[in-house]
């Protein structure tokens, strides 16, 4: 029965859904053992009470105004401190920008092995066996860690959230005043791309490729429609490498080997032919829809549903049809 520690990420007083997925997984792995959640920030102690139903048995809250934004050195120190105090042997984090940055720091400080971006994690013959993508989605690696403490960062959307735990967690709030050196790399400022959902976090991603044509010319309407479609579905806009390299869309939207590797519930690829490097980034989506005028495009090989047609004709129809269904729900 391992003691499990789960780092809970919050931004602006909002707990990341991916952290609740990690916590649910942690409770499952603990098999009734200790599940300690660590929450760091400013004015966040109210968030701690809600974590019991996801399986936390204890929540350690560290509050300070200087910790309102991510401070890697201070955060690493605090998570290491709790890991040692609670004798945790399994540490879980959501594999977000923050979790990916924090996990290797913890690994170095605890002398622990780290598995990044796990998509599966279960106990087999007394060992924790993790699966993760390698070669940017072109292969799946099965890995075990041999160190005493084992750290796993977990790919968002990989595990379900379980909020049916009955117990309430013991909450310990400390006011932690970090030393200057611990704030040597604190985030000064966050510049948000206004109101945009990130492709890596979205449940539904609608991606556009070269087939949508130049947004500064003949493809203007197509890209507007793509954004409208994403909006209708409450999803995010993604892009192929070709359109990012052409500066039609920002790199933060790129899906693929040199972009983001994602597993949304629904992925709609429009005007994307499906180069190997793009397929690597999205083949693990639960349901894939392809819209392409070339019926032989490789994207149809991985799609669950396909429509042969141009963005000009299909996108406006899709928006209308989705609107109809969504209004009934």
């Amino acid at each position: 029965m391992p003691s499990v520690l789960v780092f809970i990420e919050q931004r602006n007083g909002q707990i990341k859904r991916a952290s609740l997925e990690s916590l649910s997984k942690g409770a499952e792995l603990a098999q009734g053992g200790k599940v300690v959640a660590v929450l760091i920030g400013s004015n966040i102690k109210a968030l701690a009470d809600g974590l019991g139903k996801y399986g936390a048995t204890k929540v350690c809250v560290f509050e300070n105004e200087s910790l309102a934004r991510y401070a890697p050195t201070a955060f690493a120190k605090l998570v290491v401190k709790v890991t040692k105090e609670e004798s945790a042997t399994v540490v879980l984090l959501a594999s977000t920008a923050m979790g990916k940055d924090l996990a290797p720091r913890l690994g170095a400080r605890l002398g622990a092995g780290v598995v990044s971006d796990a998509i599966d994690l279960k106990e087999q013959n007394g060992k924790l066996v993790a699966k993760r993508y390698a070669y940017s989605g072109k292969a799946i690696a099965t890995v075990v860690l041999e160190s005493e403490i084992k750290i796993f960062s977990i790919r968002p959307n990989s595990f379900p959230i379980n909020d049916s735990h009955a117990g309430t967690a013991e909450v310990v709030v400390s006011n932690y005043n970090p030393e200057t050196a611990e704030l040597r790399d604190v985030v000064k400022e966050i510049v948000a791309s206004a109101g945009k959902l990130d492709v890596a976090e979205a449940d539904i991603v609608v991606s556009g490729g070269r087939g949508l044509r130049d947004p500064n010319g003949e493809g203007k309407q197509n890209w507007e429609n793509l954004e409208r479609l994403a909006q209708t579905l409450g999803g995010a806009v993604g892009a192929s490498r070709a359109v990012v390299d052409a500066h039609w869309r920002p790199h933060s939207e790129q899906v693929g080997q040199t972009g983001k590797v994602i597993s949304p519930k629904l992925y709609i690829a429009c005007g994307i032919s499906g180069a190997v490097q793009h397929l690597a980034g999205m083949s693990s989506s639960k349901v894939i829809v392809a819209i392409n005028k070339d019926k032989d495009a490789p994207i149809f090989q991985v799609a669950d549903y396909g429509i042969v047609g141009t963005a000009e004709e299909i996108l406006p129809q899709l928006i209308e049809e989705f609107k109809k269904v969504m209004s009934h729900n």
């Binding site: 890697p72 690994g107 598995v115 090989q301």
Partner: protein, 283 residues
């Protein structure tokens, strides 16, 4: 120059000297390096991104047939950023790679892009902690401590661990900024932008630091003929470094992701939406 001369004519002997002095000082500040820099770039090689990956029969690695290796794309952004710093402040860019002799060709490419020298480390590494350890040992012995900055890609496109940069920084006890898409520096502190979900974080750190590069940071240069010729005589030192502890991560096997069966081609948008709603149940 014209304005300066005019100014001189209207000043006394003393203030003329002062003016010349101030002018020279300003001139030196804009053109001469504040400090020449020792910059380390860690470079990995990976299968070309267009490569189709086949699993080797032993299920532990990939079939090497027909696979060409290139500099890890993210490491190219790291190298380019180091070269830009060298151009601004003066200094030496040293490349560090952990691998076998097949790395020589890609290291030469890095030297052709403008790196000054390279260290190729041979070591029985198995995981990211091993790589961070041997890199730190090689860097320490090369510079007699930590260089002014260490640049890496945000991850390698083979195992995508995204761990080595932060681990190196922990070993050296210096700040690490990961997934960087922007860097501005005066040579004393560095202001960086790192990519996060739906935005960017701004971080300011002092030298020395570790930076892991994300696409968008710069556009890596293509080596020119002069660079390629110069690279031929630049030194590549090889050394062997043993591991200090057992590897922590064990790869049990490597598999192909489950092959998806091609799906249904539907005739209309309304039929598609109906199927997504009733059959796939995703909306």
């Amino acid at each position: 120059m014209f304005r300066v001369r005019l100014f001189f004519q209207n000043t006394s002997q003393f203030s003329l000297h002062l003016a010349i002095l101030q002018f020279l000082k300003a001139y030196i500040n804009t053109t001469k390096p504040i400090k020449t820099m020792n910059l380390a770039v860690c470079l990995n090689q990976v299968p070309d991104t267009s490569a189709r990956i086949k699993i080797a029969p032993d299920g532990k690695g990939i079939d090497q047939a027909g696979v060409t290796y290139v500099i890890n794309p993210y490491d190219e952004f790291a190298l380019e950023e180091a070269l830009k710093l060298k151009e601004k402040f003066g200094g030496v860019v040293t490349v560090f790679s952990v691998g076998d002799d097949s790395f020589q060709q890609n290291i030469r490419k890095a030297l052709a892009m403008g790196a000054d020298k390279a260290v190729l480390i041979k070591s029985p590494i198995k995981d990211a902690s091993d790589v961070a350890f041997v890199l730190s040992e090689a860097i320490k012995s090369h510079f007699g401590g930590i260089p002014d900055a260490i640049f890496l890609g945000k991850e390698s496109t083979d195992f995508n661990d995204a761990q080595v940069g932060a681990m190196l920084a922990e070993i050296f006890d210096v700040p690490c900024v990961s997934v960087v898409v922007g860097l501005e520096t005066d040579g004393k502190t560095a202001k960086m932008e790192r990519e996060i979900e739906g935005g960017k974080e701004i971080v300011e750190v002092a030298f020395p630091f570790v930076l892991t590069a994300q696409k968008g940071l710069n556009l890596p240069r293509v080596p020119n003929m002069k660079g390629i010729m110069a690279a031929k005589t630049k030194p590549i030192e090889t050394k062997e470094i043993a591991l200090a502890s057992a590897s922590k991560s064990i790869l049990l096997n490597l598999d192909k992701p489950p092959q998806k069966q091609p799906g249904k081609i539907v005739a209309s948008a309304s039929e598609l939406v109906k199927l997504l709603h009733t059959e796939a149940k995703v909306i």
